[in-house]
Every structure is written in C-alpha cells, then in structure tokens.
C-alpha cells in the first residue's frame, strides 16, 4: 500500500469526497474508495429498477464515472450516497427508455420477432412473485416502490431523488401501492406473506 492509499484508507464519505474533489492521484484513489464502498448497494438498486444484472452493472459504472467527473458538485460529501442515487436514477431512466426505443425499432424493422410472454406454469411465490409483480408495474411506480420499500427512504428523500415535490411523491406512492396490491393479490400473494418461501 502506498502512503497515498494509506491516507484515504479509512475515512468517512465526506472526507473521501473532499479528497476526490481535490483531484490528482490522491483524489482518484479517494474516489476509488468510494467505489468500493458503494458499489454493492448501487448495483442492487439498479437491478431492482432495471431487472437485469448486466444492465445494472453497466449503469452503475456509468454513474460512478459521471460522479467522478462531477464530484465538485456533490457539496456535502456526507450525502454522497444520496447524490449518487440521483445520478444513477436518471441514468437508469434513460437506459430503460433507450432500450425500449431500440426494441421497438427492431420489432418494427423485423430484426427481431415480437416478444411473446411465455405462459407461467405453476405458482410463483416469495421473491420470484415479488420481482414479477415489480416488473409488471409501470416504471414510475416500480421506481418509487423500490425507493420506498427496498431503500427505505422517507418521502422527502424520495421526492429529492425523483426530482418532484413531496405531495407529488406521496400521490405517486399511494397509486403505486394500490397498483402493487392489486397485481400482487391477483397473482396469489396475500397480505400475510413476507416474501419468503
């Protein structure tokens, strides 16, 4: 370990962000510590939003690079995670939109046959059921459900991530919950379930 690496070894996010914003090799190593620290939850969040690990990793990588280039804008480094979440959420939204546009183009131009939904045989339970229901929700609903119930963010922070007002966030969450409940129960889930099989 070099002395520079030792300097940025066990610091809080705020310190690492400050070091990273100072640029240079020390700043780069500090940012790499932030990558180590935040990569798992970020990929997990993006997996729930995008439904694919490879997509999640691609978007997470892009989010880290954007964050690195704009680290001076992070402000209070103690809120790095929230700031990174906003970047990742925007990128995930764009990624999904681009993928959908590409798929529509390919379907129209006959590159790919239209996707058909395979019939589900047997009863889906627990985590699989939950993921299936999440995947069927309209994207804005899926997004807010993940932020609320996986990330466990308060409404105020959700509003910040989604870049909407608090009352709009409450309204969207209420509708998302209703849609989730309807789909979940239609597929055989019940309020007594804990998602465990």
């Amino acid at each position: 370990m070099t002395s520079v690496e030792a300097d940025v070894g066990f610091e809080e996010d705020a310190v690492l962000v400050r070091l990273a914003a100072g640029r240079g090799l020390k700043g780069q190593l500090a940012f790499e510590k932030l990558v180590d620290r935040h990569q798992v939850w970020l990929v997990r969040l993006l997996m729930h939003l995008l439904g694919s690990q490879s997509d999640a990793e691609d978007v997470a990588q892009e989010a880290f690079i954007r964050a690195f280039l704009a680290i001076e804008d992070c402000g209070d480094g103690g809120r790095f995670r929230g700031w990174l979440r906003v970047i990742a959420r925007r990128l995930a939204f764009n990624h999904r939109r681009d993928a959908r546009t590409r798929a529509q183009y390919e379907e129209r131009s006959g590159v790919l046959a239209p996707r058909s939904v395979a019939p589900i045989s047997g009863r889906v339970e627990g985590r699989d059921l939950l993921k299936q229901v999440l995947g069927e929700l309209a994207y804005p609903y899926r997004e807010i459900m993940v932020l609320r119930f996986v990330e466990e963010l308060p409404i105020k922070e959700i509003a910040g991530v989604l870049e909407i007002g608090e009352s709009a966030a409450k309204m969207r969450l209420s509708r998302a919950r209703a849609e989730f409940q309807r789909t979940y129960e239609k597929k055989g889930g019940s309020r007594g379930d804990t998602g465990r099989v």
């Binding site: 798992v40 990929v43 690990q53 990588q61 939950l130």
Partner: protein
C-alpha cells in the same frame, strides 16, 4: 392523503423484506472495471496528471526490479552458475553490468 412514515404494521414493507435482505453478487471484476474506466477518463479529461498512475506503477516495478537485481547479484557471485535467463543468450556478466550501470540511462 396521508402516507405513514412508520414501516411497522405496513404489510407491503414486510413483503419487501426478502429483497432488502437479498445478497447481491456483482461481477468479481466490477470494481476493477470501474476503476480502469475512471483511470482512463481521468487521464483523458486531465483531472490528474496522465502520468501519475503510470508513475506509481513504474515505481512499484522498479522496486521489484531492484530487489530482483540484488537477489540475482547474490546468486551470480563467483562460482554460481544458475543464471537461467541469460546464460544461453549472452555472456555471463554482461547483463548484470548493463543492469548496474548502462541500463538506467537507456
């Protein structure tokens, strides 16, 4: 409309527990890939001197070379004849001389 901030007694929160506790395994080289990209971006964008990482690497390699050179010198003491790498391609002693002196100036 009121949305409770307390999660207790919220059945949907209980249902999502399995996702909150899910262990996500990311690709083993994910972190290295990200750092590699950041390194390239940093060099391209000029947010750090492009040679800085290379400098560190060079220092590490050079330290290794010096150590290896010292060990080799011990092995190459008069009477030692196990210099596998160079014995077939160059006269013994020539490589060591280059490493000690001329090699640094190339």
């Amino acid at each position: 409309m009121e949305i409770r901030d307390e999660f207790e007694s919220d059945w949907i929160h209980s249902v999502f527990e399995v996702l909150r506790e899910e262990v996500v395994s990311i690709a083993a080289d994910f972190g290295d890939r990200v750092k590699g990209e950041i390194d390239q971006v940093a060099a391209a964008q000029g947010v750090r001197p492009p040679s800085a990482a290379a400098l560190l690497t060079a220092v590490a390699i050079e330290s290794g070379n010096i150590t290896a050179g010292l060990l080799r010198r011990d092995d190459a003491a008069p009477g030692a004849d196990d210099d596998d790498n160079n014995s077939e391609t160059s006269p013994k002693g020539h490589v060591d001389a280059a490493r000690d002196g001329d090699g640094d100036d190339d």
